[in-house]
Amino acid sequence: MIIVWQIVLCLGTVVAQATLSTLLSVNNIYPDLCLIFACLVGFFTNEYKGLLIGLTVGLFQDLLAPGGIGLNMILKGLAGSLAGVTTHTVSTVTTGAVVIVTLVLSLGCGLASLIVAYPSLDGSDAFHAITWILVPQALYNVLLAAGIFWLTHKVRHSFGVVHFARGRR
């Protein structure tokens, strides 16, 4: 049953990405909701669940994206897994840690996507893509991920929930 819910959540995230991204766009920059979802799952659970959810949501995203199948699956899986590793390396995952890790992961995934999407970009176009798409998108992702994490953290403490969806270590 949990697996079904996880698949439904992954599908919902991809559908939201395809339908709500226009509403969420700021200066034609869209947040990568799938990456944010994979990272948050990693932060709240562990690297295994982050990996699985990242792979699933990435696969669904690949099915509706023009690029080849596999890129988003691998990138989101890696991102979810690395976000999960953060829970091992720091004693408590704070919003600051979420900001740093999400920024690094978002920049890395964006750079990989940029290289795959535009393999033959010249210098000026590449510079434009980095400054006007890659970095703003990463910052937008960080803002959303940190906001959602902070809100969830607050809700957890308000309701006295200490272990929130934390899987086996």
């Binding site: 766009s25 869209y30 535009y118």
Partner: protein, 295 residues
Amino acid sequence: MPRPEHTSLPIATGRRRFFLGAFILFLFLLLFLPRESQEWLGQVGGPMAIILEGPLHGVAAIQASVREIWNHYFALQQVWEENQRLKQEIQQLQGEQNRLREQAILAREFQILSMYQKTAPLSSIPARIIGRNLSNWYKAMVINKGTRDGIHAEMGVITNAGVVGRVVRVNPTTSIVLLLSDPNVAIPGMIQTSRDEGIIQGTPQGNIHMKYLPPLSPVHVGDVVVTSGLTDDFPRGLHIGHIQQVTKAATDLFQSGEITPVVDFSKLEGVLVITSFQPTVSAESPPPAETLPVP
């Protein structure tokens, strides 16, 4: 010995009763007087009415105030509830009106597409856009037709206004269309007036460029750019856009131009996927030129 006061009371009471009875009898008898004789009563009653007017106004004002308070603060509870119900009904009706208006706009757009589909010299499948912008790296959208509907990869996508893009991936029920503004899309086009050909390609900035225009081509701002029909996905002569800017550096071999597309990609609701078309350029060999005399 002084007389106690209470002993005079029965006498006074008896007098009062007598006068009261006489006054009532007098009033009773007045009713039997002829109407003409009663006029003097009106003259007597006039000043009385003036005296009574003040208290009457006061009571009426108090009564009005009480009624107003009742109507506004107590009886309005029912009106307030009715108001809330009507507000909800208005919201519901507004939602329904918006939905119907949206359906009407969609129907109008698809009607235009349908009319164009019937008149255009090509076979096409109408499709609706169900998603877009799955990542910042591709300018793409998802349409609701796939292999089950006869869509294949590399098919051209248009509207009644002009070229939209190209199908790059097909699922059973959906397809992914890469827009003309994406750098991964390149289609052959030409300037409509000068017939000079070039390659039309998107940029990461989301603009559309026309590259490899001949260096001596008389390209001007505002020139119409159409498809040249050299590939199998688009027939010749489909509108792409207008030349917005022409650039040629001293070291460049070719001219290039920036194009303003005729299609607003962000407001698309429906498209046509080209399945086949009759090539307008004759495949037959051109008529032989006049033979020049050999010197």
